[in-house]
């Protein structure tokens, strides 16, 4: 069995690999590349917003069509090609087998196929920039009829309709969803079937629980969108009328099915990085996670509620006003489980012995920023205030305050925490601190002032505000300029991270096996873990968070330690 994997060619070892660690790394690298693309798009349109009509360095002049396309694809990339692969797939692939004490995923070949479908979907997305007419420019929500005009615009040529920006975007999203579905099946089966001996449900680390709950939410909410995406594609290339009101269809149907997936998707992105926090906070406060079981029950509750809140994105779309009240109640109810989870992390800090190492810094930054994002959600969850705030920069600032900490702070926390495990090398902590503080300050610089722009009535996805007297005046234009300068600073400070990553990877100090003195199983393996992860396979004797047990001498007791003394 084992020597099958030893002497392999470069291609089967690093490219078409079925090893979960390689696939996780592939997902992570792919996500980072796509984050670069998304960041570049953000730089271009942010520059345009601050200095409209000026030529943009490294791009040139930005027309309205290109602006719309950039805004759209930026959102698409950051959610589907950065958030999903990095948080769900990379962390899930890398961590699930090793944290439950197994050698690999349940279906390694399916796992490899999942990554390559994902890679193809990324290529299709990028290709959509280079077809005649450019990429789709109608918002990442792809509301028809705007997104269903391919057949009319390209009539009667089937192939130009198929190779238009709109159709390619729909295809790319469909492929991406298929890839993630395959990954999700793998995660669930692996977690249920391949746990080490003694790894009972209530001994599984929270991150594994959360990734699996996220996979379940994703699988159960994505179905209508998969069917609906095919219908939209047929509207585009064959001229059916599923969403065309003149043909008996209804664009409202798409809004519903998109957000029926789109809102649970937010929790799919949020839960894995909440799991990362649940690993980091106890390790660095040397204390068990506060109310471990309750945290998992709360996550299950939020998974249930997540499919009952979607229409709060449509409060002003003309839905039934009574349903709006229903969804408003659902929205404020779902704040309760997430508030509970965050409070449990904060409670973990109390009475601990806190080590302010780098991963902890990112985790605290995450909680602090997400607090702002979550509390501004109160404004938007209230359907009445949403009449005013909907589709303004208030919404933009709000969801960047939730998704940026979620995707990037969550990822960086995980990265700085598990880097010694991934590579066996130590990162440069000083550069890491610079990276954190610059990211933290610049991020606030970008988005905090935009709340005020939004409250002044500045709406989204406008490339040139000069038509609107209310918002093209001071100080809102200055706020835009501050945001743009900070955004450029934010992107530049990521190069510190890149430099740190590469130099530490190549000639960093060798890391010890368990540098953070953690209890979970992955730290009991070598760094980096060999193929098969463990030798011998561990047997689990205790929960994942046995820090500072009163009867133990050390302040951490790994999961595979049978007796404390």
């Amino acid at each position: 069995m084992e020597n099958l994997h030893q002497n392999k060619s470069f291609w089967s070892k690093y490219v078409f690999s079925t090893d979960h660690k390689t696939i996780g790394t592939q997902y992570m690298i792919m996500g980072m590349i796509m984050a670069g693309v998304g960041g570049y798009l953000a730089y271009v349109f942010r520059y345009n917003l601050a200095f409209p009509g000026k030529s943009i360095p490294f791009y040139g002049m930005l027309g309205p069509q290109a602006y719309n396309a950039f805004v759209t694809i930026h959102g698409m990339i950051m959610v589907f090609w950065v958030g999903m692969p990095v948080l769900l797939s990379a962390l899930g692939n890398y961590l699930i087998p090793i944290m439950i004490g197994s050698d690999d995923m349940a279906f390694p070949t399916v796992n490899m196929l999942s990554f390559w479908i994902f890679a193809v979907s990324a290529l299709v997305l990028i290709a959509s920039f280079f077809v005649p007419g450019g990429a789709f420019g109608g918002g990442w929500t792809m509301y028809p009829p705007f997104s269903a005009q391919g057949y009319v615009n390209h009539n009667p040529n089937f192939f130009t309709a198929l190779f238009s920006g709109t159709s390619l975007l729909i295809l790319a999203v469909a492929l991406e969803l298929v890839a993630m579905l395959m990954g999700g099946i793998n995660f669930l089966v692996t977690t249920i079937n391949k746990r080490a001996k003694g790894m009972t449900p209530w001994r599984i680390p929270v991150i594994i629980w959360f990734i699996n709950i996220a996979a379940v939410i994703f699988m159960f909410s994505v179905g209508p969108l998969v069917a609906g995406a095919f219908m939209l594609l047929f509207d585009n290339v064959l001229g059916t009328g599923f969403y065309d009101p003149h043909r008996g269809g209804d664009p409202m149907l798409w809004e519903h099915l998109f957000w029926f997936f789109g809102h649970p998707e937010v929790y799919v992105l949020l839960l894995p990085s909440l799991g990362v926090l649940a690993e980091i906070v106890p390790v660095f406060s040397r204390k068990p996670l506060f109310a471990y079981k309750t945290v998992i029950y709360l996550a299950l509750l939020s998974a249930f509620l997540s499919v009952l809140v979607w229409a709060h994105h449509q409060f002003v779309a003309g839905i039934d006003p009574r349903m709006a009240t229903f969804f408003s109640i659902g929205t404020i109810l779902i704040s309760i489980p997430f508030a509970g989870i965050f409070l449990s992390y904060m409670a973990t800090l109390w009475g601990g012995s806190i080590r302010m190492k780098l991963p902890m810094l990112w985790a605290i930054g995450f909680i602090g920023l997400f607090l702002v994002g979550g509390l501004t959600g109160l404004f938007l969850g209230s359907n009445t205030f949403d009449i005013y705030a909907h589709d303004t920069y208030f919404v933009v600032a709000h969801f960047h305050y939730t998704l940026f900490p979620d995707i990037f702070f969550g990822f960086f926390a995980a990265f700085y925490y598990w880097f010694p495990k991934f590579t066996g090398k130590e990162l440069n902590a000083k550069l890491g601190k610079w990276h954190f503080w610059l990211t933290f300050i610049f991020f606030n610089g970008v988005f905090f002032l935009l709340f005020f722009n939004g409250l002044a009535g500045q709406h989204r996805r406008i490339n040139d505000y000069s038509s609107f007297s209310l918002i093209s005046r001071e100080p809102y234009q200055t706020f835009e300029q501050i945001a743009t300068v900070c955004a450029i600073g934010l992107m530049l400070s990521q190069f510190i991270f890149l430099y740190n990553f590469i130099t530490s990877f190549r000639k960093g100090k060798k890391a010890v096996k368990n540098p953070w003195e953690s209890t979970t199983l992955e730290w009991q393996s070598d760094s980096p873990p060999p193929h098969g992860n463990f030798n011998p396979y561990p047997e689990v004797h205790r929960g994942a968070y046995d820090y500072s047990l009163p009867e133990a001498k050390e302040d951490f007791t790994p999961q595979n330690v049978p007796n404390v003394n």
């Binding site: 099946i185 449900p201 909410s221 179905g223 209508p224």
Partner: protein, 202 residues
């Protein structure tokens, strides 16, 4: 290495890996078809006119297809029964019967499609659109996308079945008979709902 593998890991919920994966896949597929059926139902309630359109579907062929799928579900479960007894000849016999059922289903479906298309009811139904009957044309769009997606699943199930038929020639991979069977049952289940929706309720 092997001794480690055998005694160190035990599944906590005792269900074989392949079957568990198949269940998760089936749950995912059911949501896709469930969503589609939801869209159809909502529009069916919205447009009573769809009843007139549904009258053009051929109930006889639909019912025949239901019988074919139910019988092939029976044959595939017999194949699974034979697989439990490691009876290679019977497994192959029953699997072939199931494949035959799949072929019958697709032939039936093609005859039906050909008939409908000759009447002018196609995916976009230009004839109806020209007559101003947009709502009726929407019915046929839904009809073709639902039956078409289902037909694609029949085809996928048949492909899997064929591969397993070849693999079981030497008695290998007998446990996969059950997995293919589960997928085939799911195809059957979806048809059980599509049949009354598209053919009977007029």
């Amino acid at each position: 290495m092997e001794t480690q593998q055998n005694h160190l890991t035990i599944p906590i919920i005792k269900i074989p890996q392949g079957r568990l994966g198949m269940w998760v896949l089936i749950a995912g597929e059911l949501v896709i078809f469930g969503g589609l059926i939801c869209f159809y139902l909502l529009n069916r309630i919205r447009y009573p006119h769809w009843g007139d359109m549904a009258a053009h579907t051929n109930t006889f062929i639909g019912a025949l297809n239901t019988v074919v799928l139910l019988v092939s579900s029976y044959t595939v479960v017999r194949a699974h029964q034979a697989a439990l007894k490691m009876d290679v000849a019977k497994v192959r016999l029953w699997l072939s019967c199931t494949l035959l059922g799949g072929i019958l289903f697709l032939v039936d479906k093609s005859i039906e499609y050909a008939h409908e298309i000759s009447e002018g009811f196609t995916f976009t139904s230009p004839k109806l659109v020209a007559a101003g009957d947009h709502v009726g044309s929407l019915f046929w769009s839904y009809y073709y996308i639902m039956t078409g997606l289902h037909g694609a699943h029949v085809l996928a199930g048949m492909t899997v079945m064929l591969i397993i038929l070849i693999q079981t020639r030497k008695g290998k991979n007998m446990h996969r008979v059950e997995l293919a069977g589960m997928y085939w049952h799911m195809v059957d289940l979806i048809w059980i709902f599509l049949f009354p929706l598209l053919y009977i309720a007029k």
